[in-house]
Amino acid sequence: MATTGQALRPARAAAPLLAPATLVVAVMLVAPLLLVLRFSLDRYDPTELMIETVTGANYLRFAADPFYRAVLRTTLGVAVACTVLCLLLGVPIGYRLARMRGRWKTACVLATVLPLVVGSTVRAVGWMILFARGGVIDATLRGLTGHGLELMYTTTAVVSGIVSINLPFVILTVQSAIETIDAELEEAAQSLGAAPGRAFWRVVWPLALPGITVAAILCFILAMNAYATPYLLGGPRFQMMAPLLFWEFGTNNNWPFASALALVLMTTTLVLTAAGNLLIPRRYRI
């Protein structure tokens, strides 16, 4: 009993210090979320906007309408594709970066971080210049082969755009995970007869898996919630959840339905993230 009391004492002493932080988190994070949850149960009215009530009509509307389900499917497809591509590109690059030394490393890390300084919208505009009709890719191919390639407003454009935005996060996360793995472990594996690739899979990969999982989850969440990229590179015909819910919110002023969409998106993301984590062997889970 006495020991328990003693153990509790520092925690109790720290409580007043933590209170402001807890309050900030509650106000900044939890309160808006609860508000969104509350809104999603309201009813929309063209002149009154929101009529306070408790109804599941907004969620039913989403579930019943194949259009909205298709949008969620597209969003999921894009997010999964982006996550897979980001890992395929990000793990080798992150590995390389982690094993680099000296001035080159600084330069390469800087080159990875630098795109983050440019906002996602500006980068999307960059991609538009590349992808547009008469843009860099189209013009080059037309000059070389006689046939242009219009990528603007295609799934390829959206996925490329999101991958370019998420990749630095994935690379840096993977890099920091791999940096904690001593390079001597790979040399040990090689001296024991494992070719470099095999040494990577048998030693680095399992040890880096928690970090790679974090990277994948980060990438998946960012892709699920992508707004500017699908809007700018996907064009009006490309439907993803974030632009759709903003359109419901901003253009239609239908806050209840937009709130329901937001919660559907958030729940789907959370459930799939948890499910993905379950696929990882227990001892590597985060």
């Binding site: 001597e184 040399e187 040990a188 594996a189 001296s191 024991l192 007869g193 494992a194 048998r202």
Partner: protein, 380 residues
């Protein structure tokens, strides 16, 4: 199990030679220790043998065949690291089995071999533990048998004892030596610790600035150092640079740091040279007894270290000698300020000329004490 040959092996990084023309021939079953201060090129040399560093010149041969083109995983070298480099996500048994798995050894054979190795390392009880649950000594034993399990052609040890505390160091060192000898493994070990090197090696290679200074047995390096660096590094001799004055009779006179030593021998040289004196071969005597192999001074520091007594004796403004004599002898610990004479025999001193080549020792002819006195005062 093979003969390992390093033929003028070199590694250049920019303008710096990390290893410069390192040649070495290690017959089957011999344990060679590369010794030297940090940055001397010993680790680079080891990594070139392992295949993790590509030499810029020279060759590495195994049984007369160059292995330079082989990648590390095909060189069949057992490698043991300073930090053990055990796979943290695999149990002790899986760590030991790793190399056999990579070779596709069938399971029954593999398990038997792992069992043998664990017994060898006295680790059977810890087979299913993860490495982090083991002590440092246990971890290094796992690392050692992991390397031995693949029956490597050569065993490479990179500072294997440096992360262990003093007591464990001796124990694991013995384990390594016994296992290596039992398996008859051609072995290269790298260390910066000369005691460790002396204890483990069949043969020593002392390196400095990328170059081999001397190769030989412990006795070769101790008794016949090739240059002042070897003399100073092995046995921690006191190395003094000064001027040699040849004499007709008695030992030559060596002047440095404002003092003089009357050497035990005569040398066929005159002028700038280097003298190395082994502290454990010097002894303290009452003042006044001058003669070949002596110097007069004052005790500055005195310590009783158990097996030995250590005195720092000041012979001139910038000239000090360390004298280490066994406590078993019938001398006593002097007090600072005591006037003493330091005396030694031919075996305690090594003299090198200006080009760092050792000068042959010539026995002094007996001289009259008064002549000596004149010389010494005139020089002081």
């Amino acid at each position: 199990m093979s003969r390992l040959t390093l033929d003028r092996l070199g590694k250049r990084y920019g303008d710096a030679m990390a290893a410069d023309s390192v040649s070495l021939d290690i017959p089957q079953g011999e344990m060679v220790v590369l010794l030297g201060p940090s940055g001397c090129g010993k680790t680079t040399t080891l990594r070139m043998v392992a295949g993790f560093v590509t030499p810029t010149s020279g060759d590495v041969l195994l049984d007369g065949r160059s292995i330079l083109r082989l990648p590390p995983h095909r060189r069949e070298m057992g490698l043991v690291f300073q930090n053990y480099a055990l796979f943290p996500h695999l149990s002790v048994a899986r760590n030991v089995a790793f190399g056999l798995e990579m070779r596709g050894t069938p399971r029954p054979e593999r398990e038997a071999q792992v069992q043998r190795m664990l017994e060898l390392a006295r680790l059977e009880a810890l087979a299913e533990r993860l490495p982090r649950a083991l002590s440092g000594g246990q971890q290094q034993r796992v690392a050692l048998v992991r390397a031995l399990a693949i029956q490597p052609r050569v065993l490479l040890l990179d500072e294997p004892l440096s992360n262990l505390d003093a007591a464990l160091r001796a124990e694991v060192g013995r384990d390594i030596r016994l296992l290596q000898r039992e398996a008859g493994l051609t072995t290269v070990m790298v260390t910066h610790d000369q005691d460790e090197a002396m204890a483990m090696a069949d043969r020593l290679v002392l390196m400095r600035d990328g170059r081999v200074q001397q190769t030989g047995t412990q006795e070769d390096l101790y008794e016949r150092p090739a240059n002042p660096f070897v003399a100073g590094f092995i046995g921690r001799s006191t190395v003094l640079r000064g001027t040699l004055h040849a004499t007709m009779h008695g030992g030559d006179v060596f002047a440095t740091g404002g003092g003089t030593l009357l050497l035990a021998g005569r040398y066929a040289a005159d002028g700038a040279c280097t003298v190395a004196l082994r502290p454990e071969r010097l002894r303290l005597a009452p003042p006044g007894e001058a003669g070949p192999g002596s110097a007069a001074g004052t005790v500055e520091l005195a310590s009783y270290l158990g097996a030995v007594r250590e005195h720092l004796v000041r012979l001139g403004p910038e000239l000090r000698l360390v004298v280490r004599d066994p406590t078993a002898g019938n001398t006593r610990l002097h007090a600072p300020g005591d006037a003493v004479a330091v005396r030694w025999d031919a075996g305690a001193e090594r003299v090198f000329d200006a080009a760092d080549a050792q000068l042959p020792f010539l026995h002094p002819e007996p001289i009259a004490p008064d002549t000596l006195g004149t010389r010494m005062t005139s020089d002081a």
